[in-house]
Amino acid sequence: MIKKFPYYSPMMIIFLFIANTSFGQHPSEIGDGVLSNDIWWQWPIVLFSFSIFVGFMATLSGIGGAIIYVPFVSSIFPLHLDYIRGTGLVIALTGALYASPDLLKNGLANLRLALPFALIASISALFGAHFGLSLDPKIVQLSLGILLLFIVSLMLISKKSEFPVVEKSDRLSEFLKIGGVYHEKTTSEDISWKIHRSPFGLILFFIIGFLAGMFGIGAGWANIPVLNLVLGTPLKIAIGTSKLILSVTDTSAAWVYLNSGSILPLVTIPSVLGMIIGTKLGVKVLLKTNPAKVKWVVIILLLLSSIVSIIKGLQVR
């Protein structure tokens, strides 16, 4: 029984406990000046440790760190949602920047595929970021909770297709010469691929970019299914190219948050650094762990955060 229970779950419980007790206190409850000045250093440590945990879980479950970070931190830390979303974007951006070079060098990300969709998503991310920052935070929190429920259902029902069949590429993708060949190491085969339904894909990426900018949650959860299931990109190319699109989308949205003062280095930097360390630890453990079990832990975590987000969103001031 004990063996079946993932060993990182107690870590989560400890974090939740700590965050909900002493650290979860509102700064105004802590007191003015002296006391809060004395204990400020605890915040970066908690955020840093929490982000290590998030990065670790995100890697093992194969979803982006920001999607766990934003709802969780907004549920348990007394920070305004503006700064949490800003940090979420920088987390997703840094992770994508870190991963993209290797993916491009190994041919697992495709620039010709990424550029047109990234352009559309980056424009809508600007709209989404401005819209999100202009809305009442309670509405954003409530919408985030609902979106998380949708993401959880997507994680439960969506099926991935390793090599989708594309009978005929559409005119737009032919014009843009999107397609290619990649070497599949597991079978030592050269896989030729092309895409279809590009115009529909552009519309979907507009929506994805908007949501990514509005909630600061990255967009890997949506990029991959759209690239893979709608456009017909092989799964590995979809995963790699998703990171590339993410780096472009989040760059434009991050600037909106930067220019509106919604990024606080005290919060953002320990979170980003913790996430990088957590990701590296996760990669090491990934080989020895059953990803299916981790995925269930993440689904439960997301469900809990969605419930907390909905409750917080519905609370009367």
Binding site: N37, W41, G86, S100, P101, R112, L119, H130, S247, T268
Partner: protein
């Protein structure tokens, strides 16, 4: 040099510069943060005060603290919180530099659609970075 090679070179040029700058960005963030939390040099806004205000939304926070934003940051380069923020701005600029770096490869290739996509993307980035693409006050 055929078209496929030029496109591949563009892809590799992007990967190379992003890799280098991402590593520099991480180091810059770490070092600037150490300066920030040790208080050398002094931040624009004391950390204790920041923590008391971080439950307020960003517009209100900026109004109360008068924290510099955008190009005003240049006048506060001797303050540790501004230095830390600049390290984040650096990371947020990496993709833009990557795009500028790969543009010549697509021009050489005479690939008009992609050259236009890249140019348009760079314009979107620059307008967003300058705060010009603002759709009303928050």
């Amino acid at each position: 040099m055929n078209q496929r090679n030029q496109a591949l070179l563009g892809q590799l040029a992007y990967a190379k510069i992003v890799y280098r700058l991402a590593n520099i960005g991480i180091i810059a963030m770490t070092l600037s943060y150490i300066l920030y939390i040790t208080g050398y040099p002094k931040p624009f806004l004391p950390i204790g005060k920041l923590i008391q205000l971080w439950e307020k939304r960003s517009t209100e926070f900026i109004e109360i603290t008068q924290m510099p934003l955008g190009f005003d940051l240049i006048h506060h380069l001797s303050q540790s919180d501004v230095i830390s923020l600049i390290s984040i701005i650096f990371v947020s600029s990496i993709t833009i530099v990557g795009y500028i770096n790969m543009l010549p490869y697509f021009i050489k290739e005479n690939d008009l659609p992609y050259t236009l996509i890249i140019v348009f993307q760079i314009i979107v980035f620059i307008l967003a970075a300058c705060g010009i693409l603002s759709f009303g006050d928050h």
